[in-house]
Symmetry: C2
Subunit: 393 residues, 2 copies
């Protein structure tokens, strides 16, 4: 069975706000092979990933991503890996290619799962999809009072865990940040699992991070996420040596296996956070999960978009019983909710699982998506290389 | 002085061949501020970098690159670094951004150098631009006989050093590769500096690389470049432990400072090869050069495009007397030659230097470029986000 088409759909909210909310747009991927279809999603910058799908070749190691996908056979798990390897080789010098491949890889797993009538986690070799403890993933409020209110609301919704991130945190004084941390702890309650995400705000400034360690320990934060940019292994490791009970978490910026491996090998991570929509899809995410297991590091998904992306990000560690915490975005924009007919919701115990249905177990809602579809055209010379494909049949 | 415009020009040969020749297209960058202008170049995939310059914002950490450049002040070296840091922060989740920033950073250095009437290497803090020993950088022939002929021609042109890369090397048998290596050595002569570039052909296959070590030592190769993909630090280090007189070279795939630092810290590199058109421009390249000096690693430029890119890639290590070898492409397509009015050529001793003239010391040849200019249009919704700007006044 050959891959007949790879279609990218740029979806966006009518207005994109200048806030750290990744659910404001999406790049939906549809792959067809014969009568079969699979759906995926690439994280961030839809137009750029579209361009990398269709761009003219620069040279033998800088081809458009579709050159390594269209017409290739898709009959087995091995085919998905082969296609990914081909993209990485033939688009070696095309930086965006890893993000672009991610959505295609996810769609290929979905397609294969639907065709073989198996959930993706089973195709990955797991015998069971274990329940995960979702953390409500939200932005810090603009003030401690706003954060307190958010934390109380999360607690009232029954979440055991919550992650606060971005917003003003790390940008002003240590005292301001302490107030934010205590507000989050107070609202969440003494028993809650409190996670803090600072979104690389200190770049490589070890001292700025150090200055917040005591407060983070005071409020018993389980982890401090992305104190530094992804590759700052030395700074991560130095902070991990001093952080005591606060574990280092990071890895969402990794766009290939090696970057994640380096974070595990050299950064002193306790939690490696992988976005299946960036790192090269479910295939590479599972490689990282295997490596994390073998090196005593806990795997966590990174997801801030739709439930299609959430299901994709759950698959690689669905069968790892003790890797229990999972990111669960709770402030999604209407686009991200409208994208799918069904949703992953906490069960009576407040836990979530990768679906048991075939593929990713998530049905795109084409009619729901249609109002968010952005019309794009890319012309090079006299050739139209891309025009938004038809979504509805 | 504020940055008034950032214009990207997609240039291409009429036909792009499926070979490892990066000079078949180019992305020329023009930045203007008041009456001043600067020129730069981004490596590879012009359409994708154009898209990343102008794409709509996805969220606060995924903005188009131009959002962090247009309207910002450019009066000093510190301004260039500030702009680069802003791009990295505001386009954190836009993977292509590092490549896109590279050409802009180069153009900003050129603009500032022209305005201050100083060569860029002087603005970087060097007191002198030392002569470098250029190696002729060519592809392996399809057969050992073809490689022999290429090597003889290079020797006849007066080059002391040559690098052979890509082509069939590493793809067939060890015996085939041995024949290629001996042909290259024979043609270059006993005294020539022989460099081998395998372009990540073995991905992470340590044994495949090991199998060629003896032959590489036999022909006294100075370095083996990119046996593995850029991030494969463990494999690089393991090979370096066994490679004896053959030094490990790599780093062209690095698209930020941290990746290059990791190659120096963990990969057992003897030579770090940096493409100013990928890593974030001259600013980050100079950071890597400083780090290399402090860690006993030799800095080498990576360049396979125009003389504008060559000058940019020479600046970061122009003042490092003992970092003597430099990549000097000798099989450029007509586009890459036509792009500039003046060219960097070997002196009577066969050596090359970063120019003494202001900025990069290279004048774009607008009339020469015009025939290669590709007409591009990108439309999102009802807005045309990009249309090839006018090149000629």
């Amino acid at each position: 069975m050959r891959i007949d088409s790879v279609d990218f759909f740029y979806l966006a909210m009518p207005e994109i706000l200048d806030i750290g909310d990744g659910s404001q747009d999406a790049l939906l991927v549809r792959v067809t092979a014969g009568d079969h279809v699979g759906w995926g999603e690439c994280e961030a910058a839809p137009l750029v990933s579209i361009a990398s799908l269709v761009c003219p070749m620069s040279h033998s190691a800088c081809k458009p991503v579709q050159a390594s996908v269209l017409g290739h056979s898709i009959d087995s798990v091995a085919d998905i890996r082969r296609i990914g390897n081909l993209v990485r080789a033939q688009s070696l010098d095309l930086l965006q290619a890893d993000h672009t491949l991610s959505g295609i890889d996810i769609a290929l797993w979905d397609l294969l799962g639907r065709r073989l009538d198996e959930p993706v986690w089973k195709l990955l070799g797991y015998s069971q999809s274990y329940p995960k403890t979702p953390y409500a993933s939200v932005l810090f409020g603009d003030t401690p009072a706003a954060t307190l209110a958010k934390a109380r609301a999360i607690h009232a919704q029954g979440f055991r865990a919550a992650k606060f991130g971005w917003g003003p945190f790390g940008l002003t004084s240590v005292a301001d940040d302490e107030a934010q941390l205590h507000a989050a702890r107070e609202g969440l309650g003494e028993d809650g699992i409190l996670l803090i995400d600072v979104g690389t705000v200190w770049n490589t400034d070890l001292d700025a991070a150090r200055a917040r360690l005591l407060a983070l320990q005071d409020v018993r934060a389980t982890w401090l996420e992305e104190p530094f940019v992804s590759g700052a292994l030395t700074e991560y490791h130095a902070l991990s040596d001093e952080s005591g009970s606060v574990g280092m978490a990071g890895g969402e910026g990794c766009h290939n296996f090696h970057m994640a491996k380096q974070m595990i090998d050299y950064a002193g991570l306790k939690y490696v956070q992988i976005d299946a929509g960036r790192i090269g899809g479910i295939t590479i995410s599972k490689d990282v999960a295997d490596y994390a297991v073998n090196h005593g590091v806990t795997y966590v998904n990174h997801t801030f978009t739709s439930n299609l992306a959430l299901s994709a990000s759950l698959q690689p560690f669905a069968g790892l019983k003790s890797h229990e915490i999972c990111e669960f975005p709770t402030e999604l924009k209407s686009l991200a909710t409208a994208m799918t007919k069904n949703h992953i919701t906490p069960d009576v115990n407040g836990q979530v699982r990768a679906p048991d249905s075939p593929g990713l177990g998530i049905e795109p809602d084409l009619a729901g998506i249609q109002p968010y579809l952005v019309d794009v055209e890319i012309r090079v010379g006299s050739r139209v290389l891309y025009r938004t494909p038809q979504l509805l049949p």
